[in-house]
């Protein structure tokens, strides 16, 4: 079980050039939770360089972390042919944000990175 809970969380998913959702494990040697951890790590690192923590990330920081991810993900592709195809066709990274409010659970989706 989780050691700490927050009243908000995010889920990332990846789509191809035609915006079709990709089965992450089939395409990459990762699962969705690791994609999120890698994204968070990139975001933390970017914010740290800018002198603040990721809780204060700006839209530009989010986009920079997304850009890093769409460049990083092809390196995790299953096979060189897949990696080449992903680089040529491009990828999109989406983030779904959930928040628990008094009214209940709300959600919103945003594009955080695109390589083409």
């Amino acid at each position: 079980m989780y050691s700490g809970f927050s009243k908000e969380t995010t889920v990332l998913y990846v789509t191809d050039a035609k915006d079709q959702t990709l089965a992450i494990k089939k395409v990459f040697r990762l699962d969705a939770s690791k994609v999120k951890k890698a994204y968070n790590k990139a975001l933390i690192s970017i914010c740290k360089k800018n002198g603040y923590n990721d809780g204060d990330a700006t839209p530009a920081d989010v986009q920079a972390a997304g850009k890093y991810m769409v460049e990083f993900l092809p390196t995790q592709a299953r096979g060189e042919a897949m990696e080449r195809k992903l680089r040529e066709d491009g990828l999109r990274l989406y983030r779904i944000s959930f928040e628990m409010t008094k009214a209940g659970i709300t959600q919103s989706t945003a594009l955080v990175g695109a390589s083409r």
């Binding site: 690791k34 951890k37 990083f72």
Partner: protein, 293 residues
């Protein structure tokens, strides 16, 4: 009736420790045969000092698997166990480090590696103290259980420290984690998501915060008191079964994999081969295998 809550070093029969050594190799193997990529973009732990990407080389991967087979044989028969375990632990650490250097770490490998490291240390202590083979294996399995218990107790303390002791108060926020875990499982494989009450569960948690607090406190208490499994065989079995239920229910609700933990619980706490032997005996089968040797 006097209730003795003291730690006991269980005197396992040699066939039980043999099965334990044999069975623990399966989760080790499932890690060792895992394909890895030749990059470590975000080095973790020893990867800060060593480049483990050579493990992705197919020739090295084959060599590692052969080395694992050979050393496993010596580990199981308990001959040259110190070098055998040194190699097994080395492989587990190297491969686990590379896997955890891909930008995302997870703790599914830690307990397994820690268990094998513990057995390696006990082998050294046994050699220094000139323990006999039976005592050595009994101590190895006892300390394995100590490490398993400690991992659960420390997990409970981390929950309490990370939440400033307000873990139970914050349980309703777990609803978001359940939604997140299930969605992540969906985006990993694009397999259809759970429907019915499983899908509704996080919304139930959000709308019934106090009932949810009572429900999930059981998990925290189980982890906090996991050391009770060291009392004797029956406590180990009982705690093992409850921990198994705990992991399986979380896996069911949140789509989180506890494969290695479940294996370790089945092998060292529930002690499945002995359980089968006991059930066979109770069902009127032939005399059960000896308790002591």
């Amino acid at each position: 009736m006097k209730l003795a809550l003291r730690e006991t070093v269980v005197r396992y029969a040699s066939w039980e420790t043999l099965f334990m050594r044999l069975l623990v190799l399966w989760p080790c193997w499932s890690l060792i045969e895992r394909q890895v990529v030749a990059v470590q973009p975000t080095p973790n732990g020893m990867a800060h000092f060593i480049d483990f990407t050579f493990l992705a080389n197919p020739a090295v991967q084959n060599g590692v698997m052969i080395a694992f087979f050979i050393t496993s044989f010596f580990y199981v028969i308990d001959r040259l166990a110190i070098p055998a375990l040194a190699i097994i632990v080395g492989i587990l650490i190297a491969k686990g480090t590379l896997i955890n250097s891909q930008g995302a770490i997870n703790h599914s490998l830690q307990l397994l590696t820690l268990v094998m490291l513990t057995q390696f240390i006990v082998q050294i202590v046994a050699a220094v103290n000139k323990w006999g083979p039976t005592e050595k294996q009994i101590q190895a399995m006892h300390w394995t259980k100590v490490v398993i218990a400690a991992s659960y107790v420390s997990s409970a303390f981390v929950k309490l420290f990370a939440s400033n002791v307000f873990w139970v108060a914050r349980v309703p926020y777990l609803a978001l984690q359940i939604i997140k875990s299930n969605l992540q499982a969906y985006y990993t494989d694009l397999e259809p998501m759970a429907t019915g009450w499983v899908a509704e569960f996080p919304y139930w948690v959000a709308s019934h915060p106090n009932l949810a607090r009572v429900f999930f406190s059981g998990g925290l208490l189980l982890e906090l008191f996991a050391f009770l499994l060291l009392i004797n065989r029956r406590w180990a079995l009982a705690m093992g079964l409850i921990i198994l239920l705990f992991h399986e229910s979380i896996s069911f609700l949140m789509n989180i994999d506890f494969k290695n933990h479940v294996w370790l619980v089945l092998i060292f706490l529930i002690n499945v081969p002995r359980l089968i032997n006991q059930v066979w005996h109770w069902c009127g089968g032939r005399k059960s295998l000896p308790e002591f040797q």
